[in-house]
């Protein structure tokens, strides 16, 4: 390996050739502040447009200050990262950025989690010396995401996520100079664009320019309405991340405290989306086996591979971008929607509650779930199966609002029957988890033998595209996994061209899967956090007594009492859906 010697802040350092000053400094423990730069190591995601100029450093012999994030190290370089000249430049740059930024931090949705606010604090800005024009642009509210581009600092992180990582291509910088903003084409609103609401732009936005549609007020109103029974479901990835909002280490599992907090907030029943994930496996796994056995019997009309359909952003992605493939994904609804559907039929009947008096709230790591629960096909007489979907972040806000001391809560259990789940339901929260859960059930249903081992390490990991062949009692089942829509696109292109050999493919829109969802606590560019959340999810799985969806006693009971069997007519009606070609017209 080629190395070179340089000096950073009077300290000699040996570093790899070809890296940036920022990386070199970081390797020796020198922190250089950055704003537009963002790097998620294991996911090969990097944004370094060199635009904000916060990371400038002094390089001896160079007339101008150099941006550390995009200047390569050179042999013998002498770098000063915190000279008076550097500090002055950083303060000036930041003051100029702030001179065109609304100073409404006190009431901004991003307050306390804002990289720009942190930077102003870090650089000790107490006065903005530059007074000039302020941008004014209309606010754009979609079903899931709000764009308030007056708060945009043109770091281009969202643009990078939308175009390079997700390949959705909705956001681009438009116009020039002072009028430049990040916007969809023709300055249309997000809800008219091909936006999937994956929320990765929200996840990386350093300011309050991109935020989720906050629905906590609706939830509070429902909770205080004594005529309503309000029940809650919580997605698997939430328990692996919520603790971060209460200063716990990333990867701390807070399942028990989460259930306790929801109960204290006043929900009448505290249920678990993991239950519905088990239900999804019953339906999707059966559908997969049906297609597979027809395929093996030589039925040429059968479509393979089967694609998972739990992720609403992924569903919207293929509806816009690959409508010709819309009969390939499983017709199974997502766990959120299966839960809502079962809650407002089976559970409501069981409890003698009228549909319109039952409010279903879901806690999701996701912003696209807000859009999903508003889709027309998930409503009965205009009453949605899921009334409100709030993010992990919104829930944290609600817990703080209610003055609940989260870290001192006892560990409590979910309520029955819709709160019982298996380890298979839990791993839905990470990339690779849905297909592993499906394999655990499909294997046993197909081979009629118990699985020799439950952990499929070959399906786990963080690589963007993974593949594995599982021995299904002599039949080699070929499985593909993609997370991040750009990776999904690659697999879809292969299906279209007929090169794909997979029988089943799992797709999740967000890098890392739901643990990296757009509604999770902000990772601020630290990919380690995602890995820790993933470990927590697998930890929860291995702690579970039952780890296969088809062994969940309450799922068995649900089929016995209500649904009949998987893919029955009733199951079809309540648990399956259809997809739409959205290539023309608006996204609704």
């Amino acid at each position: 390996m080629d190395t070179i010697l340089l000096t950073i802040d009077n300290k000699p350092v040996v570093v790899k050739k070809g890296i940036t000053i920022l990386e070199a400094a970081s390797s020796t423990g020198v922190h250089i502040p950055t704003l537009c730069h963002m790097k998620l190591d294991d996911l090969n995601i990097e944004n370094r447009p060199g635009g904000c100029r916060i990371c400038v450093v002094e390089v001896e012999g160079r007339r101008n200050l150099a941006p550390a994030c995009c200047t390569e190290v050179a042999d013998g370089m002498v770098i000063n990262s915190h000279s008076i000249r550097v500090i002055n430049a950083r303060q000036t740059v930041l003051e100029l950025i702030l001179s065109d930024h609304p100073a409404d931090c006190l009431i901004c949705a991003k307050s306390g989690k804002c990289d720009l606010q942190d930077m102003a604090h870090h650089l000790g800005i107490r006065e903005i010396h530059y007074k000039g024009e302020q941008s004014t642009y209309r606010e754009d509210t979609s079903p899931a995401i709000i764009r308030d581009v007056d708060k945009c600092i043109m770091c281009r992180r969202c643009e990078m996520m939308c175009n390079e990582v997700q390949t959705v291509g909705v956001l681009s910088a438009i116009n020039r100079g002072f009028n430049a903003v990040v916007s969809p084409a023709f300055e249309m609103n997000l809800d008219h664009s091909v936006c999937t609401y994956c929320g990765q732009c929200v996840a990386v936005c350093p300011t309050g320019a991109l935020t989720e549609v906050d629905q906590t007020a609706h939830v509070v109103r429902a909770l205080s309405d004594s005529s309503k029974t309000v029940i809650v479901q919580t997605a698997p990835a939430v328990r692996a991340a919520l603790g971060e909002e209460f200063d716990m280490d990333p990867g701390t599992l807070v399942t028990g405290k989460l259930a306790a907090a929801l109960r204290r907030l006043g929900f009448d029943y505290v249920f678990d989306t993991d239950f519905a994930a088990d239900l999804t496996i019953m339906e999707e796994g059966t559908e997969m086996l049906n297609r597979l056995s027809r395929f093996l019997e030589g039925d040429k009309s059968v479509k393979l591979p089967i694609l998972t359909s739990c992720c609403p952003a992924w569903v919207k992605f293929f509806e816009h971008q690959f409508p010709q493939l819309k009969d390939i994904p499983s017709t199974a609804r997502s766990p959120q929607q299966m839960f809502g559907s079962i809650a407002k039929t089976y559970f409501a009947e069981k409890m003698g509650i009228k549909r319109e008096d039952l409010v279903v709230v879901s806690i999701m790591p996701c912003v696209a779930k807000k859009y999903e629960c508003g889709r027309d096909e998930f409503k009965v007489n205009d009453n949605p199966d899921v009334d409100y979907a709030i993010t992990t972040r919104e829930l944290a806000g609600l817990i703080k609002l209610a003055n609940i001391n989260f870290s001192r809560l006892p560990n409590e259990e979910f309520d029955l029957p819709l709160g019982e789940s298996t380890g298979a339901g839990v791993i839905f929260g990470t990339t690779g988890g849905v297909i592993e859960a499906a394999v655990r059930t499909a294997y046993e249903l197909y081979t009629k033998k118990p699985l020799p081992k439950l952990d499929f390490n070959e399906l786990r990991g963080m690589d963007g595209i993974r593949q594995a062949t599982i021995d299904f009692g002599g039949f080699p089942l070929k499985i593909g996994i993609a997370h991040g829509l750009g990776n999904a696109r690659k697999l879809l292109a292969k299906i279209e061209s007929g090169e794909s050999e997979f029988h089943a493919i799992e797709i999740m829109s967000c890098p890392g899967g739901c643990i990296g969802g757009g509604g999770q606590p902000y990772h601020h560019g630290n990919a380690e956090i995602l890995k820790k959340r993933q470990m927590a999810i697998y930890q929860e799985d291995s702690n579970k007594k039952i780890r296969k969806s088809h062994e969940n006693p309450y799922i068995i009971q649900l089929y016995e009492e209500f649904l009949g069997k998987p893919m029955s007519e009733k199951a079809h009606h309540l648990l399956h859906t259809q997809y739409f070609d959205r290539t023309s017209g608006s996204s609704h």
Partner: protein, 169 residues
């Protein structure tokens, strides 16, 4: 923005231009340049076709169109009028000439008249500083234009027989 439907042959023109540049996203600016030259402007529907042909996002194409002032999404008039705002023309009164055009045609810079006859734009230096202030109508150059001549220039084009003023330049 009103939706327009592109004629089949217009779509073919765009596709041909894209093909000429190997449908390469890196040639986006050249493609936009040539398509605008052929069609006069780049409405949303044209950008959508270009994006599809070059396998680029529409947002990106729109980003480039709005970045460069040369590109326009508004159809040019039958007689596009350009006022030079270069230094020489400016100091010799181009701004007054421009105001007079705006007043006479009742349009702002970048707009076209309702009858589609004229569009008004500014440009930077046509390399005829000796004739400042300079006005171009289509490919024709008018030199040493005074605000008082503006009415006459417009009238002659409107009547369909431009020339006298041009000659005098």
């Amino acid at each position: 923005m009103p939706k327009i439907k592109l004629a089949e042959n217009t779509i073919q023109i765009i596709k041909d231009v894209c093909a000429e540049f190997n449908n390469s996203e890196g040639e986006l600016i050249n493609v936009l340049h040539k398509v605008q030259h052929k069609l006069g402007y780049l409405p949303a529907e044209v950008q959508e076709v270009i994006a599809k042909e070059l396998n680029a996002s529409v947002a990106k194409v729109y980003g480039v169109v709005t970045f460069y002032s040369f590109f326009t999404m508004i159809p040019k008039g039958e007689f596009p009028i350009s006022i030079c705002m270069g230094t020489a023309c400016y100091v010799r009164g181009a701004e007054q000439v421009l105001s007079e055009f705006k007043r006479q045609l009742k349009v702002e810079v970048g707009e076209s008249t309702n009858d589609g006859k004229f569009s008004l734009n500014c440009l930077r230096c046509v390399g005829a500083c000796g004739l400042a202030p300079v006005v171009m109508v289509g490919e024709k150059v008018f030199g040493r234009v005074a605000p008082t001549q503006v009415k006459q220039i417009i009238a002659e084009y409107r009547e369909g027989c431009p020339s006298e003023v041009a000659k005098s330049a």
